[in-house]
Subunit: 138 residues, 2 copies
């Protein structure tokens, strides 16, 4: 934990500030210390599909920074004035190369979070699918 | 790779054979050597939502075995007579505890696969969402 703290920078962001946009190079990963960050997909400039809101208790923002090809898979915007703990991808990669055990723990946690998100997204898909079947049947 | 090969058992499965069902304890992870395995979600006994078909070139089946709480998140059925390379969860976990560097590589690959699947599932969600918006507008 000490080695993670050493590469962490605390940053303040105002409500409404975009942290990053989908498909940009993922140079940073963030933990929410205070406030809230919304993850979303923008479609056709005007439509926003909300995916999740990240708060101090539920994990990190910008996990694309941990996985090749290192691009953000969603866009992120602060929905409150927020205090975030930022880690540079390069620093984190260097740390994980040096300490394989820590690297293993981080990637294990990441895989777990991704599987939870995937399962949730599939549940939503299932609801859409069933609605389609129902509307085709009745 | 040698240490992975040592814990791998080659098994034959007939077309139509269920490997496992969603929510069962994930005791094994499989690589497809020959044939094909269909991943799906069963709904209300009669409806099947197809998720993916895994073949020799595109990865592994049963990744729930690598992530807590170690349950399968989908059901899997052979769509052809298939040869699979099976690894027991316990053997793989023991190997990863002994060799953190290998563990790190496996979890990194897993996270990458999960992120790809998540991004694909979100793309489908986006299409459903846009269809909904369109049908509400016109």
């Amino acid at each position: 934990m000490d080695s993670l703290t050493a590469i962490t920078i605390e940053e303040q962001f105002q409500k409404g500030k975009w942290l990053f946009y989908k498909d940009q190079m993922a140079d940073n990963i963030y933990l929410v210390k205070k406030g809230a960050v919304e993850l979303l997909i923008k479609v056709q400039d005007t439509i926003e599909i909300p995916i999740a809101i990240m708060r101090p208790d539920n994990g990190c923002v910008g996990i694309g920074a941990l996985v090749e090809p290192f691009r953000y898979t969603l866009s992120a915007r602060c929905t409150d004035d927020s205090t975030l703990l930022a880690m540079k991808r390069e620093d984190l990669q260097a740390l994980m190369r040096k300490d394989h055990e820590l690297g293993c723990i981080i990637m294990k946690n990441l895989a777990q979070k991704l599987l939870v998100r995937l399962t949730e997204t599939r549940k939503e898909m299932k609801i859409h699918f069933l609605n389609l079947v129902r509307s085709a049947t009745f």
